[in-house]
C-alpha cells in the first residue's frame, strides 16, 4: 500500500513537471525564448594606428555608458547632485535626459574608468554602466587632420570620419561576431543547450610612414611660425622624395580629437589635401624642368630681362619691377623673375606646357590614402587663353592642392618619377601583414634633367635675393613662392599665400619639405615668412636624421 502510494506520488510529480514543461516549451515558447536564449553581438576591437617606429598614435581605451533606471531611483535630487559632482557636468544636463516614465535611459557615453570607479563608490541605486571602448590618443592632437576621428553613423554604430579613420574605416573596424547561448536564471550557460559562438574579427592595425618626431618638429615650428608671422593658417608637409612616403603632415589650426564635436566643420578640413590654391613661384621649377627636358633651354642660356612683358592686354612684371638685363636661366629662378618665366614658357610652347601640367598630375587626385582629397581643376586646353599660358609659368591661374605640388616637386628631384603619395606602409591583421610599397605612377623627366634642376635649385637658395639663416655646411635646394589670393575673380594685393619648398641634402635628398602660410601679416613674401620657417625645420631635421655636413 505504502509503495503504491509513493509510486502514485512520483507519477503525479512527474506529470506536474511534464505539464509545466509543455506550457513553458510549447505554449509560451516563442515569447519566452529570449529569457533563456541569449544572443549577443561580439564587438571587434578597432584597429590601432602606429607611427613609422611602432610608437602608438591611436589606441583603444575602456569606456562606459552610464544609464539610469528611473523606476529604481530612491532619491532623484540626491542622485542628480552626486552624479553632477562626479562627472563635473551641470545637473540640468543630466536632468534633461532623465525621463522618469521610462524603464531605462542612457545618460552619458564615454565615461572613463576613473569616473566609473568614482561613481561606483557612491553606491547609488538605479544606475548602471554598459561597457564600450573609445579611442585614445597618446600624443593628443599631434596629428588630428591626418588621423581623422571616430564618430557614429545614423544607426549609432562607430564609423571613422576623414583622414586615416575615414579612408581605412573598413580595415580598422573589423567584423562583429555573435554568441548564442542558453542560460539559466542566474545567467550560467546550460551545457546541454544551444552554445554557438562566432568570434569577432578584430580590426587591422595600421603602421604609418609618419614619424611622430618629425610630426612634432613640424607642428612645433609651424605653431611658432603662425604666431611670429601672424598668419591665418598654415601647413607643413615632409616627405621622402624618392618614395613619396609622407613623414609628417601638419596643418593648423586643427582640432581636439577627443572633443571633435565641439569644433566647427571648417576645422576638420585638411588643407594639405583638400584646399585649392594658386601656388605662385614654387611652381616655376616645374616649368623650368619641363623646358630642360624638352631641350628648349640650358641652365646657362641667356635671357635679356629689359622690362615688363605684354601678353595681350596684360603687362607682366617682376615682383619688384626691377630688371637685370642679361641673365641666365638659373638666375631666372634665383631672382624669381616672372618675365623670365614667360620667356621660358614661350620657348616650351603652349601645348607642351599643358601636357607637362597633366604629366605632373595636376587636375587629378594623387590618390593619397587619406579621406577628403580634392582633385584640383585643370580647365580643358581649348579654354586656355594666351595669358593663362603666360601666368601658369609662375604659378598663377592654376588651382592645386599642397599635396599635388609636393608630389610634382618630388618628381623633379628624384630622377623624374611621379610617385603616389602614401601614409600607410603596413596593414597588420591577426595572421597577415600587408606591406604597401612605393608606387611609380609615371616618369616625367630624365635623370639628367633632374640632376640639372637640383643644381639650379641649390643655386636658387644660395643666391636668392633674400639671405636666410641656413644651416652651415649643408647643401639645400628650394624655391620660395608668394601667390596672390583671388577674391571674386580679382587678386587682393593685401592677401598672399607664402610658401617655400625645399630639400636636403641636395646630393641625395633625405627629405622634401613644403611650408605654406596663408595670409601672413608681418610680410606678404614667402622669402620673409615661409622660407625662414622652412630653415628652422631643416635645422631640426638635420640633427634628428644625423645628417653630416658636406661643404
Amino acid at each position: 500500500m505504502k509503495i503504491k502510494f509513493i509510486f502514485l506520488l512520483f507519477i503525479a510529480f512527474y506529470l506536474a513537471i511534464i505539464v509545466r514543461l509543455f506550457f513553458l516549451q510549447v505554449i509560451y515558447s516563442p515569447l519566452n525564448k529570449s529569457e533563456y536564449l541569449k544572443t549577443n553581438k561580439l564587438y571587434p576591437v578597432r584597429g590601432r594606428i602606429y607611427d613609422l617606429k611602432n610608437q602608438s598614435l591611436v589606441l583603444n581605451q575602456n569606456s562606459y555608458q552610464l544609464y539610469i533606471e528611473p523606476k529604481k531611483i530612491a532619491d532623484k535630487d540626491k542622485l542628480l547632485q552626486l552624479l553632477s559632482k562626479s562627472l563635473e557636468v551641470e545637473e540640468a544636463s543630466i536632468s534633461a535626459k532623465l525621463n522618469m516614465s521610462k524603464n531605462w535611459v542612457a545618460i552619458f557615453a564615454g565615461i572613463t574608468q576613473e569616473q566609473k570607479d568614482k561613481i561606483d563608490k557612491l553606491n547609488l541605486k538605479g544606475i548602471g554602466f554598459d561597457y564600450q571602448t573609445k579611442r585614445f590618443y597618446p600624443e593628443a592632437s599631434l596629428s588630428a587632420h591626418l588621423l581623422g576621428f571616430l564618430g557614429k553613423d545614423n544607426q549609432g554604430e562607430d564609423v571613422g570620419y576623414l583622414g586615416l579613420e575615414g579612408f581605412y574605416n573598413r580595415d580598422l573596424r573589423g567584423l562583429p561576431g555573435f554568441l548564442e547561448t542558453e542560460r539559466d536564471i542566474l545567467g550560467r550557460p546550460i551545457l546541454i543547450g544551444v552554445q554557438q559562438r562566432v568570434e569577432a574579427e578584430n580590426g587591422r592595425d595600421l603602421v604609418l610612414t609618419i614619424d611622430k618626431n618629425v610630426q612634432e618638429i613640424s607642428k612645433k615650428r609651424l605653431l611658432e611660425g603662425l604666431d611670429k608671422y601672424k598668419a591665418k593658417k598654415g601647413c607643413v608637409i615632409t616627405a621622402d622624395p624618392k618614395t613619396m612616403a609622407i613623414l609628417s603632415l601638419v596643418c593648423l589650426p586643427d582640432y581636439d580629437l577627443e572633443k571633435y564635436y565641439l569644433f566647427n566643420e571648417n576645422f576638420y578640413k585638411n588643407l594639405a589635401i583638400s584646399d585649392l590654391y594658386e601656388p605662385g613661384s614654387v611652381f616655376k621649377p616645374l616649368i623650368v624642368a619641363a623646358a630642360l627636358e624638352e631641350k628648349k633651354i640650358k641652365p646657362n642660356d641667356i635671357y635679356n630681362e629689359t622690362g615688363q612683358v605684354a601678353v595681350g592686354e596684360y603687362n607682366i612684371k617682376t615682383w619688384n619691377d626691377k630688371y637685370e638685363g642679361r641673365i641666365s636661366m638659373t638666375r631666372i629662378l634665383e631672382k624669381s623673375s616672372n618675365v623670365g618665366m614667360v620667356y621660358i614658357g614661350e620657348k616650351l610652347g603652349n601645348k607642351k606646357i599643358y601636357s607637362y601640367l597633366e604629366k605632373f598630375g595636376f587636375g587629378q587626385n594623387t590618390d593619397i590614402d587619406l579621406e577628403g582629397e580634392a582633385s584640383g581643376y585643370l580647365k580643358p586646353a581649348n579654354n586656355w587663353y594666351p595669358i593663362d599660358y603666360a601666368t601658369v609659368t609662375f604659378g598663377q591661374g592654376i588651382a592645386i592642392t599642397p599635396i599635388q605640388l609636393i608630389r610634382a616637386f618630388a618628381s623633379i628631384i628624384n630622377g623624374g618619377y611621379l610617385m603616389k603619395p602614401y601614409v600607410v606602409q603596413k596593414i597588420v591583421s591577426e595572421n597577415k601583414v600587408t606591406e604597401i610599397k612605393p608606387k611609380i605612377e609615371k616618369r616625367v623627366i630624365s635623370q639628367m634633367t633632374s640632376n640639372i634642376i637640383k643644381k639650379m635649385l641649390v643655386s636658387t637658395v644660395e643666391n636668392a635675393e633674400a639671405k636666410w639663416d641656413r644651416p652651415k655646411g649643408f647643401s639645400i635646394g628650394g624655391k620660395t613662392g608668394t601667390a596672390q589670393v583671388p577674391i571674386k575673380g580679382i587678386y587682393d594685393t593685401s592677401k598672399t599665400i607664402a610658401s617655400f619648398i625645399g630639400f636636403a641634402p641636395a646630393e641625395n635628398p633625405k627629405f622634401l619639405t613644403f611650408v605654406v602660410l596663408y595670409e601672413p601679416k608681418t610680410s606678404q613674401w614667402g622669402s620673409e615668412t615661409a622660407a625662414p620657417l622652412f630653415f628652422e625645420i631643416v635645422k631640426d631635421l638635420i640633427v634628428y636624421y644625423n645628417i653630416s655636413p658636406t661643404q
Binding site: 610608437q55 602608438s56 589606441l59 583603444n60 581605451q61 575602456n62 574608468q113 561597457y131 571602448t133 585614445f136 597618446p138 600624443e139 593628443a140 599631434l142 539559466d184 545567467g187 550560467r188 550557460p189 546550460i190 551545457l191 546541454i192 611622430k212 618626431n213 612634432e216 652651415k472 655646411g473 640633427v543 653630416s548 655636413p549
Partner: protein
Amino acid sequence: MKNIFLRTTGLIMTGLIIANLFVVISGIVISDEINNFEKKTNSLHRINLTLEKEVAKLSSLKFAQEQAKEFNFINSTAPQYIDQLKYAQR
C-alpha cells in the same frame, strides 16, 4: 525473486538519481567556471587596454615634454650644437 528485483531496481534508481545529481551539479560547477572565465577574460581584456594606455602615455612625446618641464630642461638649458665639427673631432 521479487525481493531481488525490487532491490536491484532500487539500486539502479538510486544510482541513476546519484548520477543525475552528479551531472546536474557538475553542469552547474562547469557553468560557473565558464562564467568566471568569461568574466576573467573580459577583465583581462580591460586591464590589457589600461596597461597599453599607460605604456603609450609613458612613451609619448607629451609625457617627455612634461618631464622635461618638471626637470627644468627648457630652452635656456638646451644643448649647444657644434657648428664646426673639426673641434669635436680633435
